[in-house]
């Protein structure tokens, strides 16, 4: 079964979402935005980088930046639970989102989608595109673009040298 085909056929009403858990909560990203899902890689620290930048990882010769979703979503800092990474592309750069575990790829009707409620703290809400109401739980869909914005502050072009 070709997932892309299936997706195309149902693109109007249904969305396919890769789900994963962080600290017990269910999160999701559109399956088409995901390059791959891998185990946890050895992270090489980047001193002076903001806390949510865990460091750099070597993805078979490509360098990806590891981002701690725990920090972005203000979860407990129980790093031992982190076992997997979800690799996507942000602004042409690879990023590895560090998560606890991977859930299923779910197909879900758009009618179950709702914007995040206002009571969620703004610092968290800005990274959430919306909420899917699932059976017995909620799934927060991550807004990759806004993470991208966090990730790419406007840089003084003069300092953007390669050295």
């Amino acid at each position: 079964m070709n997932t892309a085909e299936m997706h195309q056929a149902n693109s109007k009403a249904v969305e396919q979402i890769t789900t994963f858990y962080i600290d017990g909560d269910l999160f999701g990203i559109d399956v088409l935005k995901i390059e791959e899902v891998t185990g946890k890689h050895k992270v090489f620290e980047v001193p002076r980088a903001p806390g949510f930048v865990r460091g750099l990882v070597n993805l078979r010769g490509q360098i990806a930046t590891a981002l701690g979703l725990r920090e972005l979503f203000m979860k407990s800092t129980n790093l031992e639970k982190e076992k997997m990474s979800v690799v996507c592309k942000l602004d042409g750069n690879l990023v590895a989102l560090v998560v606890d575990s991977i859930g299923d790829v779910v197909e879900i009707e758009r009618s179950f989608f709702e914007p995040p409620p206002d009571t969620i703290p703004g610092e968290i809400r800005r990274f959430i595109k919306g909420i899917y109401k699932m059976n017995g739980s909620f799934m927060s869909v991550i807004d990759l673009d806004s993470i991208g914005k966090e990730f790419a502050p406007s840089v003084d072009p003069a300092s953007g040298r390669i050295n």
Binding site: P47, A49, L56, I63, A152, P153, G160, N163
Partner: protein, 1032 residues
């Protein structure tokens, strides 16, 4: 049609092959290949095509090829086909292709206009009208062409345009061979062909007009006139604009409006061609000028490009477009998308990593077969790696060639006569780098043309050849590519640049005099700087040079400028071979691994903190290091990476990497240094880049990731260079004198009216200034200048040293400002030459009557060291009295000498002095008088020596201003010392104001002397020994 699509495809493919073959044969005939074979082959091609066309019921194609065959038969018994006919056949082949593709073509079988000049043996007499190929636009233009094909076509156009432009230049120079004209003709022809094929009708028309106008020249009966060449260039420009426009996917009807004008210009120019070889100047006649006024406006987006790929069409594009390439390069090169190469590179990197792992594994293995296999894998991988690297390299000639055209256009526009010579075009550089250096190069070349090269009149007046020369040289040097742009123009004038810089507020007036030539030239790279008196079209807006430096530095290169006024300017770009792979030094800080690009690394210094002289010191809380006598600011990598970390550099061995960041050099303290390796640079995302500490990342051989340090960024983070540290240059002057820093002393070399060089101890020099002679005023009989807020009395060093004094009213005076006590004095010298760091011994003279300390015996020459204080004292004796009412000094300075002690060799003197010059001078002096002298580099060392039970001392002679522990602190420490509190102490300092002297006495000195009067010093020493003896 009764034939299936597949059969049709097959026919098309076959016919195109036939046509290609025919074309090849025609061209080989044209180039003097064997006529008979080519003829037979050509004939067979036409014949077969005719047959196939008939079979497919393509009547038009059938009759067309039949006609071609017929014309060809006319040459059956000949020995050659004249050029016009070859053209005719070539055009016929193109038309056939169009027909095969379903385009209706009206083909005129008359040979071209110039065919009238074909020798009489020509079997076909032809009339004059030029061949007209009219392609009717049957299909909606471009809409069904695959995007790749169009891209292919456009880059083909770029190449063709460049080739034509180069060849036109050769033709214009007058010294050309027929082949150049032929080549132009062929290129225009294939341009026309492809343009029509892609239904860029206007572009095709344009090419067609160009082709026709060149006809006569190509036949060898007429010479190209200047007007024609200019018209050709104009047309080429227009073609270029079309190409650019097509590329951006826009359409511009205004361009089309220009075509009739261009056509008129071309026809007019081609009508008036001079016969034979004389090139007449017909320029004065009014040529229709149209093109220049037009500004391209992108009006509307082009039609959409459908992605459906039509195979035969694509194939055809390659066939028609590559006529020339097939000839010269054949199948030796193919076009590959850069993205594919990038992918291959990445995979290559991965393969290298796997190889490393396999090798590691095989080291543990006992299996011989496996070991040999892994060895083989190792070799092959390395080879592939090497070859892979080469794929990205392109000869620099690809961009240098364009400058022929740039210089040609500019010299016309500026009415100058400029020759351009290129060398080293074959030097290879990474393609992405080539793109980046194109703009900077253009800027420099344009600048050279506009500001550098003078007008022919001026050049003649200055005794130069009327034609200016610009040369661009590219070559490899030390793992970098050097590009030198040299012109023999008027050069850069220091004064003009400085004046402008002061005007623009880039430099303070007071600093201007002491800037080195290099610093002055660097000013023109400042944003907003332009010395051009007039802003011309070409340059002078002051944006260019700034961009040049930024661009070159962005790719890790450097720009150097040197110039001799009146002789010319040379600009040197140093560029790394490739961005993708750079040599780097791998270092460790804490647990992390980092890479420092080798281009930024000047040297590595290993420091033993336990040593006395060569170690890291703390200056106002900041670590510094004395590198060959100069203070090198230090930045601790640990502190950069983790601002909270602290280190006192008390012990152990430390590594310092001396780095250069643009104009600043600084030392980076590093925990561990590993190795130099070639690393593959991977980009970082913007967030990490915005930290300014890292410029990229790389995967090391063991699979770990290392960050690449951004050296200029670190300098910025550490706030270096905000005040323009000049260490870099000093370090360079000293580089060739590897001696320990403790022995080095800096001197300022000056020229006086004497063949011998004179020098001042640099530490004495307060500032260097330049004054106009007219600024000198007189206060009584004393010459003074107003300097900042004070009156600066002037002294002519020449006069004082007994040399004859020459006053050149027109020149400015070089003045060394010296601070004596609290007053400033200006010492006039003829010229300030340079600084010199040397460890040479100073031969101190006891008598200082003539204002000389002594002489410096360097390996190459003898340098006289001037005593500025003595000179000042001689001129302004009141300066001593007024500022030095020192009570303690009177005894020592009494004229009656005190007898030296009886057994001087039993007297041990401890000398604390941080300046090497004085340490040496005083030591020599005292030793000559028979004392034993032990030296300390500062107060701290002096205390250490005092505490060492191995030594005993009878007297301390100390400087006041010293690092770590100064003279006052030393005196206080001695007075509190359990065993040495009674030692006599003598202060010798250039800080000889009343306050300091009082402080000195308070701190515990017995005597306080101004440096450095040998007689007084010896006298004071004797006196103190006398006193000490009496006290005992």
């Amino acid at each position: 049609m009764t034939y299936s699509a597949e059969e049709m495809e097959e026919f098309k493919a076959e016919s195109l092959e036939l046509l290609e073959n025919a074309e090849k044969n025609l061209l080989s005939m044209d180039n003097g290949g064997d006529f008979r074979t080519a003829f037979d082959s050509l004939f067979r091609c036409f014949h077969n095509l005719k047959g196939a066309a008939g079979m497919m019921e393509l009547l038009k194609l059938q009759s067309h090829t039949h006609k071609l065959e017929e014309i060809l038969m006319g040459f059956k018994d000949g020995t050659e086909i004249p050029k016009p006919h070859i053209n005719l056949f070539l055009r016929g082949i193109d038309a056939s292709r169009a027909l095969i593709d379903g385009v209706d073509v009206d083909f005129d079988f008359n040979v071209s206009a110039a065919a009238a000049n074909v020798p009489a043996s020509d079997p076909i007499k032809s009339t004059n009208p030029p061949i007209k190929v009219q392609v009717e636009e049957q299909r909606p233009p471009k809409s069904e062409l695959p995007k790749e094909a169009i891209e292919e076509f456009l880059s083909e156009c770029d190449e063709i345009i460049e080739r034509i432009s180069n060849n036109l230049q050769i033709v214009e120079s007058g010294n050309y061979k027929k082949t150049s004209v032929d080549e132009i003709y062929r290129d225009i022809h294939s341009l026309k062909g492809s343009a029509y094929l892609f239904s860029y009708k206007k572009m095709g028309d344009l090419a067609h007009y160009m082709e026709s106008s060149l006809e006569k020249v190509r036949n060898g009966t007429h010479s190209p006139s200047k007007a024609l060449i200019n018209a050709m260039f104009r047309s080429l420009e227009l073609v270029e604009k079309y190409v650019a426009l097509t590329r951006s996917g826009a359409m511009n009807p205004t361009l089309d409006l220009l075509i009739p004008g261009i056509e008129k210009m071309l026809t007019w120019a081609s009508e008036d061609l001079p016969l034979f070889t004389q090139v007449a100047e017909i320029e004065k006649k009014e040529a229709p000028e149209v093109v220049e006024e037009v500004k391209i406006q992108v009006i509307q987006p082009e039609t959409h490009i459908d992605e459906t790929v039509s195979q035969p069409l694509l194939k055809e594009v390659q066939n028609t477009g590559n006529v020339k390439e097939k000839e010269s390069e054949g199948a030796s090169s193919i076009r590959v998308h850069v993205a594919l190469l990038d992918n291959l590179m990445t995979l290559m990197g991965e393969m290298v990593l796997v190889r490393n792992q396999v090798l590691q594994f095989s080291n543990k293995s006992e299996d011989l077969e496996f070991i040999s296999m892994s060895k083989r894998l190792n070799v092959v991988t390395s080879e592939i790696h090497g070859e892979m690297m080469k794929t990205r390299m392109q000869p620099i000639g690809n961009i240098l060639g364009k400058f022929n055209r740039v210089v040609r256009d500019l010299s016309q526009e500026l009415r100058k006569n400029i020759n351009l010579t290129l060398s080293g075009s074959e030097t290879e550089l990474d393609k992405s780098l080539l793109e980046t250096i194109k703009d900077p190069l253009t800027h420099i070349v344009r600048n050279s043309c506009d500001h550098g090269i003078e007008t022919p009149d001026l050049r003649r007046k200055n005794g130069k050849t009327e034609a200016g020369n610009i040369s661009i040289k590219a070559y490899h040097e030390g793992g970098q590519v050097i590009i030198e742009i040299q012109d023999d123009g008027k050069g850069l004038h220091r004064d003009v640049i400085l004046k402008k810089a002061i005007e623009k507020g880039l430099v303070a007036q007071a600093d201007a005099g002491q800037m080195t030539e290099k610093q002055v030239f660097n000013l023109i790279f400042e944003p907003g700087f332009s010395t051009a008196a007039q802003i011309t079209n070409v340059s002078g807006r002051g944006v260019g040079m700034d961009v040049v430096r930024t661009n070159i530095e962005r790719i890790g290169g450097t720009v150097e400028l040197s110039s001799v006024p009146g002789v010319g300017t040379t600009t040197k770009f140093k560029i790394p071979l490739t961005l993708a792979i750079i040599p780097a030094l791998i270092v460790n800080s804490g647990t992390g691994t980092y890479a420092i690009p080798q281009v930024r690394l000047d040297e590595l210094v290993r420091v033993e903190q336990s040593s006395v002289a060569n170690k890291i010191e703390i200056l106002h809380g900041a670590p510094v290091f004395r590198l060959r006598g100069n203070i090198l600011p230090l930045v601790d990598l640990n502190k950069i990476l983790n601002p909270e970390s602290t280190s006192d550099y008390r012990d152990g061995t430390l590594n310092i990497a001396v780095l250069n960041a643009e104009q600043i050099s600084f030392g980076l303290i590093i925990d561990r240094i590993q190795d130099t390796v070639d690393i593959v640079v991977k980009p970082l995302n913007r967030l990490i880049k915005s930290l300014q500490i890292y410029s990229g990342a790389t995967v090391l051989g063991d699979g770990s990731v290392a960050l690449i340090l951004d050296v200029p960024g670190i300098a910025k983070v550490a706030r270096l260079g905000s005040s323009g540290t000049r260490n870099h240059e000093n370090a360079q002057t000293n580089a060739d004198k590897p001696k320990t820093s403790a022995d080095m002393q800096d001197y300022l070399l000056v020229r006086l009216q004497s063949p011998t060089k004179h020098a001042f101890v640099l530490g004495f020099v307060h500032r260097l200034e330049e004054f106009k002679r007219s600024a000198v005023e007189y206060s009584g009989s004393v010459p003074v200048v107003r300097y900042r807020d004070v009156i600066l009395p002037l002294v002519s060093v020449n006069e004082q040293l007994g040399y004859k004094s020459v006053i050149d009213e027109s020149k400015t005076m070089s003045v060394i400002v010296v601070k004596k006590a609290e007053a400033m004095f200006g010492l006039i010298v003829d010229e300030i030459v340079d600084t010199l760091a040397t460890a040479a011994d100073l031969d101190a003279k006891v008598s200082t009557q003539n204002g000389i300390f002594g002489s410096l015996n360097t390996p190459t020459e003898l340098i006289v060291v001037v005593d500025p204080f003595d000179i000042i004292e001689k001129c302004y004796p009141e300066s001593v009295k007024n500022s030095n009412p020192a009570p303690v000094r009177s005894a020592a300075s009494s004229v009656a000498p005190v007898a030296p002690p009886k057994h001087p060799h039993l007297r041990n003197i401890l000398l604390a002095e941080d300046t090497a010059f004085f340490r040496k001078a005083v030591k020599t002096l005292l030793e000559k008088a028979g004392y034993k002298v032990m030296c300390a580099n500062d107060g701290k060392e002096a205390i250490d020596l005092l505490n060492d039970p191995k030594y005993t001392f009878d007297l301390i002679v100390s400087d006041i201003e010293m690092p770590r522990v100064n003279g006052f602190q030393l005196a206080e420490a001695v007075r509190k010392h359990p065993t040495h509190s009674a030692l006599p102490m003598l202060a010798v300092s250039s800080r000889a104001d009343t306050k300091s002297m009082e402080d000195g006495i308070k701190a515990g000195f017995d005597l306080y002397l101004e440096k450095l009067k040998p007689a007084i010093l010896l006298n004071a020493v004797s006196e103190l020994f006398e006193k000490g003896r009496r006290a005992a």
